[in-house]
Amino acid sequence: MSALLTVEGLRHGFYGVQVLNGASFEVRQGTVTGLIGPNGAGKSTAINAISGALLPQGGRVSFAGTDITRLPPRERVGLGLVRSFQLARGFPRLSVFDHLMLYGQGHPGEGFWQSLTGGRAGRQHEERLAETALSVARRLKLDHVIDNPVSALSGGQKKLVEIGRALMAEPRMILFDEPMAGVNPTLSAQIAEHLTALNEEGITICLIEHDMAMVARLCDPVIVMAEGRKMTEGSFAEVVADKAVQEAYLGVRHDA
């Protein structure tokens, strides 16, 4: 299968510390690609550069054949590349429903004149989008809190809202930054099921995760990062068998 996302020679430093050191990897169409590695390996910085949260000091990011290295985040979303955040982020005083609605793309009714005049195209799009939002909410079991502001949700529900919004954008690829961090095992298993289902519907997924059982269950291939670049890549079984990986990441983890 072909590469949907290609990262070439990404370089970035903060205050003289080189966090990304020529990182190059690809995410192939239709995969759930795991990004693992020790803290400070540059995983989150890579995701930030891919999603547009950060302009890398060097290197190139291309998505579906387009160079997106310098595009603002909103244009990347337009191409079908969306992300979630490690600490679930939201618009505190907006309802779950509004969050879902906001992620619908290309809504003609969001224009100033369309909103003022209540034009037909905008209204019809709004109705269709509302139906989608309600079905996404049901699917994620958020329908009973749909009118609540997200600031009133539990941590786990916020994670589900992140997944829901990403879905609303009808993306080709979703970047997840630790979607299960700080979530209880039951919910974590549910999130895993959602991710699998999304992938089966054709959405390519790239996720950062520290829970090795989850990585084993969900990801193929797994990319191991260390010191700002890709160290190795392969199936979960292959990378855990790698001596260098054990030393750089897994070994340290077990000692700790």
């Binding site: 909103r74 429903f97 969001e110 309600l134 009118d147």
Partner: protein, 299 residues
Amino acid sequence: MLSYVIFSATTAGIYGLLALSLNLIWGGAGMVNLGLAGFFAVGAYASAILSLAGVPVPIAILAACAMGAAAGIGATWATVRLRGDYHAIVTLGFAEVVRLVAMNERWLTNGTDGLPGIPAPLKSVLGPQGFAVFYLCLVLTILVAVFLALRRLDRAPFGRVLKAIREDQDLAGFAGKNAMRVKLIAFAVSAGIAGLAGALYAHYQSYISPDHFQPLLTIYIFLAVTSGGVGRPAGAFLGAFLVILFLEGTRFLGHLLPGLSSGQVAASREILVGLAFLLVLHLRPQGVLPERIRPAPAQ
């Protein structure tokens, strides 16, 4: 007494427009506009100067609206990278610049002497009494029309995007929204409404001078929006009338306090305004008609 009530209600209507303007930009997009009086002044002077030059009043008022919007775009464009407090300070500076220009560019604004004899539409036909009633109706009609339009925007997808930007502008970008463009539109519309209010004020008073556009005016409008309810047009609408009711009401209250000279009575009004503001913030920080979450459509 009746003409006094009509005068107060007309002023409240003009304040109402300013409150709606502030609510759009502050309650909607989360941008603090401390320069409201400046956009109000731009509209007042634009309409006054044009109509004194012979332009028909309705066209002058529309032009004032456009001038306000243009000033809004200018002020926002110049500060496109600034957010929060920094943007607020620039708007405060903008209002002072407008006032200083009005004070010093005598060829245009007649300086501190102000502009007298601004045409009052239909006053010669209706007489002073009839004009007052006509103008009250005009102001209230415009106020209700602007209110309905803004409420519609607030409940439409545009309002949803605006509030998302208020809550987290960067995240709105990750939702695929062009935050800059939406903020610019919102500020232009808000400043245009303030310009409209200024024009209505100028033709009502027939005389304007830089003194009419003190920063205190902006504070009163903040008081109106805060007490009425930030983020909901109906709150701003109500708040403006509450503020006028209070400002005018304290005129009579002062005399109830024993042993004060008339100068002290006037000063005590400002104290009472300050106290009322503190009381509102303490007892009902969300305002009388706070922002609500509109329920999702039935499944």
